[in-house]
Amino acid sequence: MNSNDALLAYVLRLGDNALVLGQRMVELVAAYPELEEELANANFALDYIGQARMFYAYAGELEGKGRGEDDFAFLRDENEYRNVLLLEQPNGHFGDSIAKLVLFEAFYLQQLEALVHCTDKRVAEIAARAEKEIRYHLRHNTQWLIRLGDGTAESHGKAQQAVDNLWRFTGELFAADEVDNVFENEFDGPDLFRIREKWYATIAAVLDEATLTMPEDAWMASGGKAGQHSEHLGYMIAEMQYLQRVHPGANW
């Protein structure tokens, strides 16, 4: 894989992660347990959609075929999406959302911190902006995971179950493939092995404070980064793309 192909693939993955997670968060609008959390969820989802737009716009320029942000979001099939499986998992209760966000954002923040120093100027610029947003999200969501874990017996049980259920999707975050390796070598990109160490330490500390048990590493699901998704993504994309698919070529 040459460096240009790896750069495009890497940027699209970043965009897909942001959009798929943002879309899942959008599904929760008007269903949050407190008005303050309603605002936080909408605000965070807006950050993700904003990041997706920046990554897709750049992907369109790199590809040079005239595709824009909406072409990537609305006119690709699910096997063209390259998000990690963790993010496409359906929403459950509030504890599931919080656990998913903490597990992902503890990784994503490290990834962005590394990308700020990569040699591709545009990726570094977008990462610098996104890093500030995600640092705040992670702080907010971590506080919630601690509250739920160290709250009542019921909330502790729900938070533990959420972490246990989602754990099998965390391996994919760190499983470097050719895109990751070329991007790391050619653009001074993130070293996933080192990121995993830092992630592990962060998550261990959070779970400890939340009085939750870190699950044992066992079988890890993967495939999202290669376009092999769970059944859930197809429904999400079908709903999201509906208007663009029914009215081809229309302006909105």
Binding site: V26, V29, L35, L39, L46, R147, K158, A250, W252
Partner: protein, 330 residues
């Protein structure tokens, strides 16, 4: 929006009213007449306080319930830009709900109590949100017509005699006018688009026009309870005056879009400079207020479910805060 609350009769037992002396009431009215702002700690008649609690909480509830019909198209918004704009709008509405509940709290009612009244169905919210959003054009129609009607109602509220409410409204109006422009822009693009898109826009206008006119409340002749609100300068213009102003502003906008307002009696009266329009179906309005609109049960059901589903989360937050406080004290 949402001043329909002023037209409901004050049903609370006026226990404390009997302690109010004519001198107090006269001095209060003199302050109102001098255009002074009434602040939270000032003396006020009990009926004034109750009217404001009812109106402000109804307004807050309308913001919160109003997130649902728009949220219905958030996952299906046709472009990422439209999705982001709609999400930002819905977030603004949650924010408006928050400041309005805070303004309500200055009158001595807790947010929990106000939300409790919404969930039991005791408190009302604007009738408009009991209509469904069936196509993407409805999101445009809500911005253009519903927020447009809301602005007509709300701009005078920026001069409302109760200071905390008036100040909250200044900020809300600024955001609402942005929302209205966004709604109009959605419809403009649809009207310039394919025949299917234009038909979608016309269908949305057909369904939202009359319910939007109903947002101003009953005709003045039937709106007996608003006289006191006018005297107290909570309300500045009558329902019919505001409705007329809305029609006068909106009809030319529909013409600009190339859409037909669904009213065969609509004519421009050169002499008065106003549009004359047909009779509103007041029976429909009454049914929607009574709970028989297309979405009343669905909207309240979703709000209740969110509240109930969140109970364990709120309990966890309380339990955690108590543990932390106990640790800090130890």
């Amino acid at each position: 929006m949402y001043t329909q609350g002023l037209d409901q009769k004050d049903k609370s037992a006026p226990q404390r009213d009997t302690l109010e002396t004519p001198e107090q009431l006269e001095a209060f009215q003199a302050r109102i007449d001098a255009e002074e702002k009434i602040e939270a700690k000032d003396w006020m008649p009990e009926a004034y306080r109750r009217t404001l609690v009812r109106q402000i909480s109804q307004h807050a509830h309308s913001e919160i319930i109003g997130m649902q019909p728009e949220g219905n198209w958030l996952t299906r918004a046709p472009t990422l830009k439209r999705k982001a704009i709609l999400l930002a709008k819905i977030q603004d509405e949650a924010g408006h709900g928050l400041y309005l509940y805070s303004a309500g709290e200055t009158l001595g009612v807790s947010r929990d109590a106000m939300v409790g009244d919404l969930l039991t169905g005791k408190a009302k919210y604007s009738s408009i949100f009991n209509y469904p959003t069936l196509t993407w054009a409805d999101i445009g129609a809500i911005g253009w017509l519903v927020d447009g009607a809301a602005i007509m109602n709300q701009i005078p509220l920026c001069r409302c005699s109760y200071g905390p409410y008036a100040r909250a409204m200044v900020r809300i109006c600024r955001e609402e006018s942005f929302h209205q422009r966004q709604g109009f822009d959605i419809l403009r693009v649809l009207c310039e688009g394919t025949p299917e898109q234009k038909a979608m826009a016309q269908d949305a206008l057909n369904r939202w026009w009359w319910p939007s006119l109903m947002m101003f409340g009953p005709n003045d002749a039937d709106s007996k309870h608003s006289a006191q609100s006018m005297a107290w300068k909570i309300k500045r213009f009558s329902n019919d005056e505001l409705r007329q102003k809305f029609v006068d502003v909106t009809v030319p906008q529909a013409e600009f879009l190339g859409l037909k307002v669904p009213d065969d009696d609509l004519v421009y009266d050169e002499k008065s400079g106003h549009y004359r329009f047909g009779e509103i179906d007041w029976q429909e309005f009454i049914e929607v207020i009574k709970g028989n609109g297309p979405c009343n049960r669905q909207r309240l059901g979703k709000r209740r479910k969110a509240h109930e589903d969140g109970e364990w989360v709120r309990e966890a937050a309380r339990a955690y805060a108590e543990k932390q406080a106990a640790k800090a004290a130890a």
